[in-house]
Subunit: 624 residues, 2 copies
Amino acid sequence: MGFLDVVLGRPLRSEEDDAQRVGVAAGVPTFGLDALGSAAYGPEAALTILIPAGMAGIAYVWPISLTILLLLGIVFFSYRQTIDAYPNGGGSYTVAGKNLGETVGLLAAAALMLDYLLDVGVGISTGVGALVSAVPRLGPHTLAICLLILVALTIINLRGVRESGLLFMAPTYVFVVCLLGVLGWGVWKTLMSGGHPHAVVAPPHPEAGRAMAAVGAWLLLRSFASGCTALTGVEAVSNGVRSFREPRTRTAQWTLTVLVVLLALMLAGIGYVVRAYGIEATEPGSKDYQSLLSIITAAVAGRSMVYYTTIASILVVLSLSANTAFAGFPQLCRVIAEDGYLPRFFAIRGRRLVYTEGILVLTVLAGAILVVFGGVTDRLIPLFAIGAFLAFTLSQAGMVAHWQREGGERKWLNIGINGVGAVATGITVVLVLMAKFAEGAWITVVLVPLLILLMQAVHRHYARVEKVTRVGELDLKPRGSLIAVVPVSRWDRPAEGAMRFAYALTEEVEVLHVDCSSEEGETGCEDWRPLVGEAAERAGVSVPTLTTVTSPFRLILKPIVDHVLKVEAEHPERSVAVVVPELVARHWYQYLLHNHRSTALKATLLIRGNGRIAVVNVPWYLEK
Amino acid sequence: MGFLDVVLGRPLRSEEDDAQRVGVAAGVPTFGLDALGSAAYGPEAALTILIPAGMAGIAYVWPISLTILLLLGIVFFSYRQTIDAYPNGGGSYTVAGKNLGETVGLLAAAALMLDYLLDVGVGISTGVGALVSAVPRLGPHTLAICLLILVALTIINLRGVRESGLLFMAPTYVFVVCLLGVLGWGVWKTLMSGGHPHAVVAPPHPEAGRAMAAVGAWLLLRSFASGCTALTGVEAVSNGVRSFREPRTRTAQWTLTVLVVLLALMLAGIGYVVRAYGIEATEPGSKDYQSLLSIITAAVAGRSMVYYTTIASILVVLSLSANTAFAGFPQLCRVIAEDGYLPRFFAIRGRRLVYTEGILVLTVLAGAILVVFGGVTDRLIPLFAIGAFLAFTLSQAGMVAHWQREGGERKWLNIGINGVGAVATGITVVLVLMAKFAEGAWITVVLVPLLILLMQAVHRHYARVEKVTRVGELDLKPRGSLIAVVPVSRWDRPAEGAMRFAYALTEEVEVLHVDCSSEEGETGCEDWRPLVGEAAERAGVSVPTLTTVTSPFRLILKPIVDHVLKVEAEHPERSVAVVVPELVARHWYQYLLHNHRSTALKATLLIRGNGRIAVVNVPWYLEK
């Protein structure tokens, strides 16, 4: 069992595909960690914006939560239909591309790709950030821990979609049970106490007497825009439909449903408990900072075993939320590559039937982001929700067009739902962009068009190659016979093997010798020239031409290539086979002891040659 | 004019060799910087050992100096004869190898190679060390300055032997004139003052009352052993005889003579002045440290303009003394490589007719030493003289054998001189080894045999290759016709070109398709299979076999190579040509957009193949 077998598992046969697919139970951790994890930062982001308004802001938590829940519902219905209509995956990219045209599809694709990439970078660094604030002495190792998690996620995902799902099942469901339990307990206490529950650990409140800002529309807008990050990750299931067990659309739809219901319960619970307990967010970066879920859990359950279990499970889920990107990104790239807008290698399944190259590209890019930002990616968070909401909008708009074309019995209902969704998420994109433009969202506005241009260029290239390499039937009409040119530096077995092979190809053989010596009249081939001629005569074949070119600057390759090009130009109807003898040593340490002119010559001929020059490599093995 | 033309100069034609040779005037700086520079550290090294003996030790300076001068004279006569007898260079290696056997020659070669390498590392770092002690704020940049000088020396030497000679002429002769001037002035003052000159700047003496060690034999021995480093570098001229202007043996001999006379005058002058002025060395590394030549110059000439000019010229010559190694090492490696004991690339002349690879190997190894030791190579100094003296000894012993065989009118005189020389330098080797064994000289004892074993292994390999690749005449007796195998993944122009080429080679063509799809009955070649067969029928050639191999693990190369090996095994008398179609893109940025299976396939076939499999590469160019 080799090293790769241990790390990545044995290679899987193509037919083993089915066994690698996930059901609902494994699908939720595979595709849902991002969405579920966003419950940990979405509401907190919204509340952080409201800090300046103090307790007055808390009153607006419920309407903001309801708006976000409504959006979630619309997005859910839209993707549910998308899965049904496009069971090959690709999500927003496919929907927008098929219904609104190529460029719109690429817009969705670019937005999603960027979003997935940020998901990995920001997801991991957020989780590690929470871990480091819990265990401060890990601080100096932030970047190392981030990269360690990245590598672990990469390896797990290279082992297959199913593996990550099974592996992350336990932490995911512990998180869900703990958080929903705490929230449910909080709701119960609120109801029992007639709406005024007593907090076990009082939530922190900034000193009295601070200046209160008025609650204005712009503040609420920004709070809503920040809260929308809670919805990221919902699109992942629609990208990876092909990873689900048959009937795959049903399985994917159920997975999406479970995911959205869990997320909605969490968001609603958080909104309710926050208002009931009068919880404010704390300023990130300040010394009193405490995460919102930590305050809530402490208020409801006290600093008990439940508290520590819940907080630990949140940390784990946040750190692993990047797994969603590892499940979605390669599948998205695969669909785009199959359409010819990304390099084809994205569509090749590796040893474990996952799209290896997509996983590795994601790892490298996310690793670069983590290294550049030193493992602290706070400044990237403003970029985060835009990609996802842009994709939501385009996907819904695409579905409107889809229903218009396809009809069906509930045509107008569907158009209505998706139309409202498109408008709502579209407005959200504009709001988020406005609210966060200066903070960094402008980067998205620059990067997305560049990505689109790049993908279009890739497509144009493939289309051109497709066009110029298209060929009807094989044209075997007789052409002039081959001319073989055999470059020989010294007369040895490799050279003899090449000569024999040349005579197997054609009767017209030219032996080419490059003379680098500065002594006059001495070419270095006097001793073997006659041998070759005599042998040809004896064998009754045409005597080879013996050409010597001098090389005053002691170059070897250039004179050979120049001569071959000349021969080719002199015979416009015939092909030239350059028969290159090559001594092949079997051991690496012999590498330094032999020149590698054959290899260099082959490469040079390939680059400088043209359609009628073929290179024949006749190896001669030192070890049998 | 390209970048290389600017940095290295235009390429030189092989016939321009003569213009690149050096005469005596340029030969002294080219090959002599090491020898002349050693006047700066040899006597100081001897005196440093005598420090514990105080002024009592100074009395022994003169006998030690005379012994070293006598050795220098013997070594000089020996190398003068060597140059005459072996005008192709190689020095000790050639003399010892030709007269005392291969292993002894390799012993001399290994010793010399190590000595040259140390010369570069220690030479540069000694010069920079002196510079840094003069300008302390350069201290933190020691390694950077060392590497800068190394790169500068490399480039200058890549430009040709003559360039370095001409460039270094001025500093060399300034150094010689200054130092000999100061020493001559000191001798004159001594004679004028009746043997008791007055020092302009009194030489430093350690505090009185320190414990004086008795002057014993072991102390004198160690002092002598250290002083012998003054002789290193004398062998360089004999290694590079071929770099001298015709008549090259005369020119080389005159260069050696000038060099040795200058060195002898310096050593004698230093010995005389040190005793006359009662100068002691100062402890290296102590805060009162001052170099011996600095003390002497200050004592004789005061801290005048003369002082600063002399000290500056010493710094420059020390820093550049590594140039001797750059002149000698590549020539030495060239001679060894021509004998087959080093990789052949050492014997290839580059664009400026110097042995480029030897220069680069020296740069890389010396750079590694400098980096490992951080630019401070004090700990390597004990290793220094051993290689040189071992080479002296073997060279003299070889000359004894030479005269015994060759005779000549002064046979016995010559044998006498070289015999005495061999014994004297041999004793010196033993003394130096004993005196410095624990300080690091043992490393030489370990490294030299390893180098010899390595060179013998290289020779054995070349000898074996020479033997197994030797071929008498070309055997063109008819063999079975070729079988062509064309791997085709999709039917496009490159594939069609490869098929056409295959039919130009032989009538027996097999098209090989690898089927990676998991769907049953679908192989991916249904659409073009018939086209190929029909075309062959229409053209009246034999219809190609169409073979499909399935690849359950989605590998492409392995099934192809396995199949080709199978075909080859089934036809023990025939050769198999694997005709590989290849789409060649002209732009680097297209690299990612196409797979590189052709390249990988060619490499895999080359490695896994055997004598009867040739690879034919038929390129198809995307850009014409």
